[in-house]
């Protein structure tokens, strides 16, 4: 409850800040934000039209959200705004196979007075196939901004809910004044998650209930067919559940089943084999043992775009005995196995894509880099982010590659994608250009010398609610860093503080995290920024909420620098 409230208030604050975006004005545009043209030409850029492209110099002409031409001798219309692309690289826009960006979980319905937990109403038990992700979606969410900033232009949004959460939809991560809808009812989101304190409460109950709902939907369809074709037939009971499931039973809409590990993969596939629906698996984290099964069953899979954190490995100590060393080695092996899975899936010939559900947008490029270090090819990574995702979602006709007539969804970078110094400069979504600041990395960043972050810092962070700020201090003793940060207490009552955790300095980059207690809920806040002399600028990411810019200045020290 508190979480929902908090989310709602964050959302509310954001809305206040950005209303009125790109509306049509009768005369002039007082905001100055209205686009001058919808025709753009990115000239003489290095274009990678698809995953296997090795890149060639070309100009890309887009108009009204559609790619009009890609080539070297294109005559540009007068209304085309030119973006000089000489030093830029263009890739097809990324596609998120399954996303919860911008989704707010609807409030649980009130329990009826005669509620019996052993036989609860479907809506309360998490069986809501009639619900629609679009009703839970806001394009204005900072999560959408974060995802777009990471290069994503299209996403299949999954509704939040229980074992059968509802209908997913495919949207572009585009203009705030648009519905951005590409395809409604693209799938039915399901999981093995039970309903707390009522039937079905566990995975084993969920599987039984899923069979029950599915088979009774089939029977209801038969009854409806009889009822509409002959007389003397009792009126069939048409419940929202059965009506909401019927597209799935007809084979028109796949079940987008969230699974985590190989055992859950098998459970979902066994239901699919038993009942016969179309299946897309999403959220896979541990799937090494079922790569053959995924391949042989032809199941479409969306891999979680995240890698395990390596805290446990970093925390390993040197002076330990053989037994502990053996344990360490196993953790390392498990980590290596985890990051190598995507590469193995690619080698097995499974055209997988990614899901960002549960992943941090700011960690996505790191995850892809790690997967590539562990065997995933660059082509495989790009295909997973673009063309594979398009074909799994059934939108390959309009998205996934850069071709004439396809949607103008592009990622434009300052260097070859996934390379260390390469940054995303523009993301084109549905023909609309989103610009991003390129952080100027200091020359000689890699001279191996880490900056000293110690001192007292005053920071300001820009959130949709306005500026907020406080102080943080970092102390250095030998090589250990420690510190504390102050911030406005989200529970009211002025400032409060938390100790800093995981303080790390790499080159000129400083990162740390801290915990915030917001109404009984513990939020994890990560800060990362570049230090330049006595200033720092970067991002502050709050788990499940979004990321906001942060700047900080070091209070001049009275002690002379040596």
């Amino acid at each position: 409850m508190k979480r929902t409230l908090l989310k709602a208030s964050v959302l509310g604050m954001m809305l206040a800040g950005v209303l009125g975006w790109d509306q049509a004005y009768g005369q002039s545009d007082p905001t100055g934000k209205k686009q001058v043209t919808s025709t753009y030409a990115i000239t003489n850029a290095t274009v990678f039209a698809n995953a296997s492209s090795s890149g060639s110099k070309a100009t890309v002409l887009i108009k009204d959200g559609v790619i009009k031409a890609i080539g070297s001798n294109i005559s540009l219309p007068a209304e085309a705004q030119e973006i000089k692309g000489d030093s830029l690289f263009i890739y097809p826009g990324f596609i998120d196979g399954a996303s919860r960006a911008g989704i707010t979980r609807p409030e649980d319905p009130k329990r009826p007075d005669n509620f019996v937990s052993s036989n609860p109403p479907d809506e309360i038990a998490g069986i809501t196939p009639w619900r629609n992700a679009l009703d839970q979606f806001s394009i204005k969410s900072s999560q959408v901004d974060d995802l777009r900033k990471a290069g994503f232009t299209l996403a299949q949004i999954l509704p939040d809910g229980g074992m059968i959460a509802g209908k997913s939809a495919i949207v572009v991560l585009g203009d705030e004044s648009s519905t951005n809808l590409v395809k409604e009812n693209s799938g039915l989101a399901a999981s093995l998650q039970g309903s707390r304190g009522m039937y079905p409460g566990t995975a084993v109950g969920v599987m039984a209930k899923f069979r029950d709902v599915y088979k009774n939907t089939e029977l209801t369809q038969e009854r409806i067919a009889k009822f509409t074709s002959s007389t003397g037939i009792s009126r069939p009971e048409m419940t929202p559940t059965y009506m909401g499931m019927s597209d799935v039973v007809d084979g028109q809409v796949p079940v987008v089943f969230t699974v985590g590990n190989d055992l859950e993969v098998r459970r979902a596939i066994s239901l699919q084999e038993e009942l016969g629906f179309n299946l897309v698996l999403t959220g896979l984290e541990e799937y090494d043992a079922v790569i053959d099964l995924i391949k042989s069953s032809g199941t479409k899979v969306l891999i979680k775009l995240e890698i395990p954190d390596d805290k446990a490995i970093k925390a390993q100590k040197e002076d330990v005995n053989e037994d502990v060393k053996a344990q360490y080695e196993k953790v390392k092996e498990a980590y290596d196995l985890a990051i190598s899975q995507a590469g193995k899936l690619e080698k097995a010939g499974v055209p997988f894509a990614f899901t960002t559900v549960g992943a941090q947008a700011s960690d996505i490029s790191k995850a892809i880099t790690k997967m590539m270090e562990a065997g995933l090819s660059k082509e495989g990574a790009i295909a997973a982010l673009t063309s594979n995702a398009a074909s799994i979602l059934g939108i390959e006709r309009i998205a996934g590659t850069l071709d004439n007539g396809k949607m103008a969804n592009m990622v434009i970078t300052t260097g070859p994608i996934f390379e260390e110094d390469s940054q995303i400069k523009h993301v084109v979504v549905d023909g609309k250009i989103f610009d991003y600041e390129i952080s100027k990395k200091k020359n000689g960043k890699d001279d191996g010398k880490a900056v000293d972050p110690s001192g007292n810092w005053t920071y300001t962070s820009e959130t949709p609610a306005g500026s907020s700020g406080g102080n943080f201090t970092i102390e250095k003793s030998d090589s250990d860093l420690s510190g504390e940060i102050t911030y406005d207490d989200p529970q009211g009552g002025g400032e409060t503080s938390s100790p800093l955790k995981e303080i790390e300095v790499s080159g000129s980059n400083l990162s740390f995290s801290f915990g915030v207690n917001a109404g009984g809920m513990s939020l994890d806040v990560k800060v990362s920024g570049e230090i330049n002399g006595d200033t720092m600028s970067g991002n502050m990411t709050i788990t499940d909420f979004g990321s906001y810019s942060i700047t900080a200045n070091r209070t001049p020290s009275l002690i002379a620098k040596k």
Partner: protein, 460 residues
């Protein structure tokens, strides 16, 4: 994929694809053992030849066929793999506790072949366990009979696919506590438990009839029949009434045991095994006459009110009155030494070696409906075999090797410390050392001094 799997793959020359389709089967010749067949007495200096997962011959002086490994078991005891008729090892979920009847749930859906308990059971000579739903419901879920093929990644590979269906029932304090006291619905008492059972079966009969009526009339000309609502919960109860499923019922008190016998008789149910059955000794003749017997603890009791009236002679009394009796673990720890538990029937009841061993081999096999395949060392049966140093009923017995379908899954001489198949990439588990404390004579007794501290310690 773990090392053991690679090892097995290499050893058996099987590709993993093949292993998906068919479970591993091995060949081996065990020489010169004392063979405890359980059903055909004890054979000294005898060899057991296993080919392709099946016991081919039990005789003296068998020579190994080409390529078949020979194990010298001189001075050792060879017995059938131990069968545990009551276990919750290798299940990701045990209780769907939310409804008094959850007959529709299948434990086969949530089998976890990675669980370390499987290996620990193998290290106690146990080759088959009955992975049961919990006892929170009057009628619980359908159980899975597992073969301990350690190293499998596919749950289907450790499920004994040709074992009959079984289902969990529970009487007494557990279901009345969860649903009656916890949730304010029936059953709140033992009477309520009986009502749930009778109402459930009566509804199942109506369900069966509704479908039969529909099936018989739907193809008639001008039929207005429409299919009834599908209900796997009731369909499963119909299958019980049709004799397709063996009931395994958690029970303690004699009155409730006798109640279920009467319910079963009223509904024509004969496939019924009682689990725990602590007061079974009071109704042993009735259990013997009307049911497939009882599966009991050797000497566990007094952990709640309904288990106070108990005796370690329970198994022997049941057995002597003609009830088919087995001894089970219901515990991931006890499962490692069921041979000790069986031995207790000799101390409390004076059973013979064969009678005592039958309690953990052929008798549970009968109660699970798999005695034609396992539970004794007989030619033609599955090669599920345990080799012991010392007689398994001796307190000094130490399991040496355990085979399932002729494949060795446990060998005390090849027993690395860390047998985990699933390792977290984000968590380091520190090794556990036993016996490092200098003295532990007062360990875990701190609570005894709490009252004294509260009375005399004024510090806050």
């Amino acid at each position: 994929m773990n090392k053991l799997n690679y090892f097995l793959t290499a050893l058996l020359g099987l590709s993993m694809q093949f292993a998906f389709a068919q479970t591993p089967k091995g060949s081996v010749l065990i020489k010169n053992a004392t063979v405890l067949t359980v059903t055909n007495g004890t054979l000294e200096n005898t060899d057991v030849l296993v080919e392709d997962g099946v016991i081919k011959r039990i005789a003296q002086d068998i020579s190994a066929p080409n390529g078949v490994e020979t194990i010298d078991a001189t001075g050792k005891y060879v017995m059938p793999g131990i069968i545990d008729a009551h276990s919750h090892v290798a299940l990701d979920v045990v209780n769907e506790a939310t409804n008094p009847i959850v007959a529709e749930v299948r434990m086969k859906d949530v089998v976890n072949p990675y669980e370390i308990g499987i290996y620990r059971a193998l290290a106690g000579g146990v080759t088959i366990s009955h992975a049961m739903h919990g006892s929170a419901n009057v009628i619980g879920g359908q159980n899975a009979t597992l073969k301990h093929r350690w190293g499998s990644t596919d749950p289907a590979d450790i499920i004994m696919q040709d074992a009959p269906r079984t289902i969990k029932f529970a009487l007494g304090e557990n279901p009345t506590r969860v649903h009656g006291r916890g949730n304010g619905i029936q059953p709140r008492s033992r009477m309520g438990v009986e009502a749930i059972l009778r109402n459930g079966f009566s509804e199942a009969l109506q369900y069966k009839k509704a479908w039969e009526t529909y099936e018989s009339s739907k193809d008639e000309r001008g039929s207005t029949a429409v299919a009834p609502k599908y209900n796997e919960r009731l369909q499963t109860l119909v299958d019980i009434l049709d004799g397709k499923i063996i009931i395994h019922c958690h029970s303690y008190r004699a009155d409730e045991i006798y109640m279920l016998i009467n319910v079963a008789r009223d509904f024509g149910i004969t496939k019924l095994v009682f689990q725990h059955t602590n007061e079974g000794f009071k109704v042993a003749p009735e259990i013997a006459e009307y049911t497939m017997g009882a599966s009991v603890f050797a000497d566990w009791w007094a952990y709640k009110f309904e288990v106070y009236y108990s005796t370690a002679f329970n198994a022997a009394i049941l057995q002597k009155n003609g009830a088919l009796t087995s001894i089970n673990s219901d515990s991931a720890e006890l499962i490692r030494h069921l041979y000790h538990e069986a031995g207790k029937t000799q101390r409390y009841g004076g059973l013979t070696d064969d009678e005592a061993l039958a309690m953990i081999t052929i008798n549970p096999a009968k109660q699970l409906g798999i005695d034609d395949k396992v539970g004794s060392l007989e030619e033609g049966k599955h090669a599920d075999i345990a080799i012991f140093e010392g007689h398994p009923l001796s307190t000094y017995a130490v399991p040496q090797m355990t085979f399932v379908d002729g494949v060795k899954y446990f060998d005390i001489k090849e027993d690395p410390d860390d047998q985990r198949q699933r390792i977290s990439a984000t968590e380091t588990v520190e090794p556990i050392y036993l016996g490092h404390e200098d003295h532990r004579c007062m360990q875990d007794t701190e609570h005894l001094f709490e009252t004294a501290n509260a009375l005399f310690n004024t510090e806050k």
